[in-house]
């Protein structure tokens, strides 16, 4: 058979690499032949069909390699143990150890294949180890991705190190916002900045009309140079120009990519279109890039112009300063300049600006400041969890090592060197770690979402972290490191030439004793950590259950809510009341509507704020005696619609419009505070909103308490004004349906559009959903901690098992002696369980005080459950004792099974 010369060199590198997968003994002698063999095989017709043929080729080669590798192992493992006859030697020939050893040295693939078989043989161990490690690795990968996104990645702007963030300081207190006039002064009087810009703190809402459908969009007020300061250019159109920030300039706006897609379908002629914002025609001059975001999810940006809007006085701090340092100017230099200006302001306005300054920090640091310590702490904690998981698995490996004694002796007798065996065990550890790493990475994706819920890092634009390359890299490194950490110790220990003897005698050395103490200590620590987690989760769950059953004070079933905003410029006060009266009439006529009302602030969803109220006839006029009462504006019929009982007096009526005296309805709590043991109906009270002068208002009725701020807070004092007295342009509709509330959304929207086609209906939600969502955070927290608690419990159980199994394995001889001397099975079991419970008690002793301290921090999250709730703690102790006992069962059973004769003989 002739082989063409050319085919030998072509691609032979590829085959030389393949050759490495073959056993060393074959490579050594037949290396060249195999390469040529493969090369010729590759050219056979069945492999000559392009990609599919190539795939077939490599598949067949791989199959050949693996079957060969397994056979290699199987041969020398099985031969002395019966069945197959050993390989025949020629007469007179000595058994050639070197040959056998050459056959044993094999290759890495052999090790991995064998490792796979070993792991499959003991599924419970494999499952427990992989699960344990996966949790540890997964948590670390998730935390790393958060760390990477928040702390490591730079801001996506050019030269981010020159971006600064300014905050007002009052003495030592740092405020995160500044006032507009102060900003003007800092901007005009310093030259350290290339640009100093401003953005409104918090998201604003703007009604948009003159489009197909009216709507409300989110947006921010910014100075015209804001985006230029950041260094971001619109993807379409242009930035604001300097004179667009002057009073009297035409109305312009920039829109976000998302809004551009949603509203204009991504069409380029969106730029230049004029739409109506808050009733004012505004021209779109540009579209911001797709991934751009600064602290808030804004759809539109509008330029700040003096006189066009209320920028607030010198004491109104609603703005954030973002600046870019001039090239060559350091942060310290800029800070010194700013300090001088602050001093000037203090001299100019001594009452308000004494001790007031401006603190400049790097923007990237300022944004993450709140999260950095938490993230680092969490990273340390998850690292600790992984270490504990490694300790767990190491314990399991050690316990198993003694169970594999027979196999190890056989292999050692066949000439397997210690290095060889260690390598084999490391392969097992590596396989475990890689499986755990894969599972852990999948777990990490889910854990990421939980991290975001705990630390809403939305100011950095991190909503969905998702998979990233650094994350995968980290997962790989973590897996390898983990394998080494938990694998090396047991591998070296177990690969001793005579493991039986080593386990029983030689390891009474102090080094080993220390190692055992470390392992035992780790388990105790693990139990303690579990105690803390279980205690916390128990408390949180009890609290959550209590919260769910709280009485809100109104009937939340079948209620639909929606927000209506009419133009404040088109409707004057009287017109607004007429509009809402008309609207409610129309809605009440819709079939399926039982009742309808309008309120300025929905309970729980819009807590709003409180004003000061006092009785003008009260003996003292001390501001400290003023009562803080939450104010609301409602159309008549609100209480009936909500199912809030009227206790005294009456509700507002349409005819009250004519009454020049402002009237209000108060709730029980307010009545008790203002007029204890008296009838409040008919009484006058002074209401002071801290902006204009106090106004005397007459009480016409008292209603039952309803929770309006938060579910876990007691009902606050409330007062309800008639819309005719306090004509809000934006009101929330409350509609009670006879059937399913959401089916009313469309007819209600139609009713609104009938009255005014420019009025948007937004935020449509049922009351039950609102209440449920307000508990959302509590729910997630409770469930997550409960989950971690259960996982920790499982890990603790596995850890206890590992340590006890190893303990029993080490003490085989001793137990054998005891049994030989008359100890009963019961005695043996008792001693094992006793040791196990010793660990649990030690863990409890450390964990219980720790959890009392830690749960104290949870006080704010707990509703009517004391952090030292005895029922919860009793359950925790019972739970751990139970788990500890269960963990002892298998090792105890194994201990009982020890045959004293075998045990003594094993020496």
């Amino acid at each position: 058979m002739t082989i063409a010369r050319g085919s030998e060199s072509k691609g032979s590198i590829r085959f030389r690499i393949l050759l490495l997968a073959y056993p060393k003994s074959l490579r050594h002698r037949w290396g060249t032949d195999i390469v040529r063999f493969l090369s010729s095989q590759r050219q056979e017709p069945r492999y000559n069909q392009g990609a599919f043929g190539a795939f077939r080729f490599y598949r067949d080669v791989l199959r050949d390699i693996l079957s060969n590798a397994a056979r290699h192992k199987a041969l020398f493992l099985l031969s002395p143990i019966g069945g197959r006859k050993p390989p025949r030697k020629r007469l007179g020939e000595k058994p050639d150890r070197s040959r056998l050893r050459a056959g044993l040295s094999g290759c890495l693939i052999q090790d991995v294949v064998y490792a796979k078989r070993v792991l499959v043989r003991s599924p419970l161990f494999t499952l427990a180890s992989v699960a344990t490690l996966a949790v540890g690795i997964g948590a670390n990968v998730a935390m790393f991705s958060a760390l990477d996104a928040v702390l490591i990645r730079a801001l996506p702007y050019p030269s981010p190190e020159r971006l600064v963030y300014g905050r007002a300081t009052f003495g030592s207190r740092v405020n995160s916002t500044v006032s507009y006039p102060d900003y003007i002064d800092f901007r005009d009087r310093s030259d350290a900045f290339e640009s100093l810009a401003l953005i409104r703190s918090g998201l604003q809402w703007f009604p948009i009309t003159r489009l197909a459908e009216p709507e409300r969009v989110s947006g921010n007020w910014i100075t015209v140079d804001f985006f230029a300061a950041l260094g971001v250019n619109p993807q379409l159109g242009r930035q604001f120009t300097a004179d667009e920030g002057e009073p009297g300039a035409p109305n312009v706006m920039l829109i976000s990519h998302g809004y551009w897609q949603r509203r204009f379908g991504g069409s380029p002629d969106a730029v230049g279109r004029t739409i109506s914002v808050e009733g004012y025609p505004t021209t779109i001059v540009g579209v911001m890039p797709a991934d751009f975001r600064f602290r808030y999810d804004a759809d539109v940006w509008l330029p700040i112009r003096d006189g066009y809007m209320d920028t607030g006085g010198r004491t109104s701090h609603s703005w954030q300063i973002v600046g870019r340092l001039r090239a060559g100017v350091s942060l310290q230099q800029a800070q010194s300049q700013v300090d001088v200006i602050a001093q000037q302001l203090a001299e100019a306005y001594p009452e308000s600006h004494e001790n007031k300054g401006l603190l400049l920090t790097r923007l990237d640091e300022a944004l993450v400041e709140a999260y950095r310590p938490n993230l680092i702490l969490l990273m340390a904690a998850t690292g600790l969890v992984l270490l504990i998981a490694c300790g767990n698995v190491a314990n399991l490996l050690l316990a198993r090592g003694s169970a594999r004694r027979l196999e190890l002796s056989a292999r050692a007798a066949l000439g397997a060197s210690r290095a060889r065996l260690t390598r084999q065990f490391m392969a097992e550890s590596l396989l475990l770690a890689i499986l755990a790493g894969g599972l852990g990475t999948v777990l990490a994706l889910w854990l990421q979402r939980l991290i975001i819920l705990f630390m809403p890092m939305d100011s950095l634009g991190i909503k969905e972290i998702g998979m990233s390359l650094p994350m995968l890299g980290f997962a790989l490194v973590a897996s390898f490191a983990t394998a080494i950490v938990f694998g090396v110790g047991p591998a070296l220990t177990v690969s001793q030439a005579n493991p039986a003897a080593a386990l029983n005698s030689g390891l009474r050395s102090s080094a080993h004793g220390r190692a055992t103490r470390i392992r035992s200590g780790l388990v105790v620590l693990q139990v303690a950590l579990t105690v803390v987690l279980i205690a916390a989760s128990g408390l949180l769950l009890r609290s959550f259950v209590r919260l769910q059953g709280v009485d809100v004070g109104f009937d939340s079933e079948n209620l639909l809510t929606a927000r209506v905003q009419i133009s404040s410029s088109e409707y004057d006060a009287t017109a607004r009341t007429l509009f809402y009266r008309d609207l409610l009439e129309r809605i009440r006529a819709i079939p399926g509507v039982e009742a309808a009302a309008a309120i300025s602030h929905i309970p729980i969803q819009h807590p709003y704020m409180d004003w000061s109220v006092w009785d003008p006839e009260a003996p003292t006029q001390d501001p400290d005696d003023w009562v803080a009462v939450y104010s609301r504006t409602a159309m008549p019929g609100y209480f009936e619609t909500m199912g809030i009982p009227l206790l005294r007096g009456r509700d507002h009526e349409d005819t009250d419009e004519a009454n020049p005296q402002p009237l209000m309805v108060i709730n029980e709590s307010a009545a008790d505070r203002l007029f204890p043991d008296q009838d409040p109906v008919g009484r006058l009270v002074n209401v002071y909103n801290h902006v204009s002068d106090p106004v005397p208002v007459q009480v016409i009725g008292v209603v039952g308490d309803a929770r309006i701020t938060a579910l876990d807070r007691a009902p606050a004092p409330q007062m309800y004004f008639n819309h005719s007295n306090s004509a809000w342009s934006s009101m929330n509709l409350i509609v009670r349906a006879t059937g399913h509330p959401t089916s009313l959304a469309a007819p209600i929207r139609a009713a609104v559009l009938e009255l005014d086609s420019d009025v948007p209906l937004s935020d449509v939600a049922t009351m039950s959903d609102i209440l449920s969502e307000s508990l959302g955070r509590n729910r997630v927290v409770s469930i997550t901690i409960a989950l971690f608690g259960s996982v920790a419990l499982l890990l603790a159980m596995i850890g206890l098992y590992g340590v006890l199994a190893y303990y029993v394995a080490r003490r085989t001889q001793e137990i054998g002696v005891r049994v030989a001397f008359g100890a009963t099975g019961g005695d043996v079991v008792r001693s094992v369980i006793g040791r196990g419970l010793l660990f649990v008690s030690a863990g409890l002793a450390i964990g219980l005080p720790c959890s009392v301290a830690v749960t104290r921090l949870l006080r704010s999250q707990l509703y009517e459950v004391a952090p030292t709730d005895p029922l919860t703690y009793a359950s925790v102790v019972a739970c751990l004792l139970l788990v500890g006992t269960v963990a002892c069962l298998v090792p105890a059973r194994r201990a009982v099974r020890i045959d004293p004769v075998d045990a003594l003989r094993a020496e």
Binding site: T32, F37, V61, I65, S67, N68, R71, P87, K89
Partner: protein, 122 residues
């Protein structure tokens, strides 16, 4: 090499059997053996590089074959340095014994299960 030694090596693995059967008529190199076995068994027995050379290694150890100098015709070819293997006497004995064993087994099976009688090919 007595028959006693040869019988100790039975039964042969399929790879061993086919390799021996292939080199019995004359020495061959590895890849040629593979192709021959594939052709002879209509593609049912496919020897991969590992199986083949591991088998050769084992058979050499057992004394069933040995390396031989390449036959005259192919020594002229530049660059073809395939190793050739020839069967030993022991190998021949073993092969014959195996064939006899297989025939005997086949005969007994056919006697018990009539449907396995040798098919007549026209």
């Amino acid at each position: 090499m007595t028959n006693q030694d040869a019988r100790d090596l039975l039964p042969l693995t399929p790879a061993t059997f086919h390799i021996l059967a292939t080199i019995a008529p004359g020495a061959m190199h590895g890849y040629a053996i593979k192709r021959e076995v594939e052709d002879r068994t209509d593609g049912v027995v496919r020897l991969g590089a590992g199986t083949l050379y591991a088998g050769i290694q084992r058979m050499e150890r057992e004394g069933l074959l040995r390396e031989s100098p390449p036959p005259e015709e192919s020594s002229q070819e530049a660059g073809s340095r395939w190793r050739f293997y020839e069967i030993t006497d022991l190998g021949r004995d073993v092969l014959e014994l195996e064939v006899a064993r297989l025939e005997s087994d086949l005969g007994r099976v056919r006697a018990r299960i009539p449907r396995t009688h040798a098919r007549q090919t026209s």
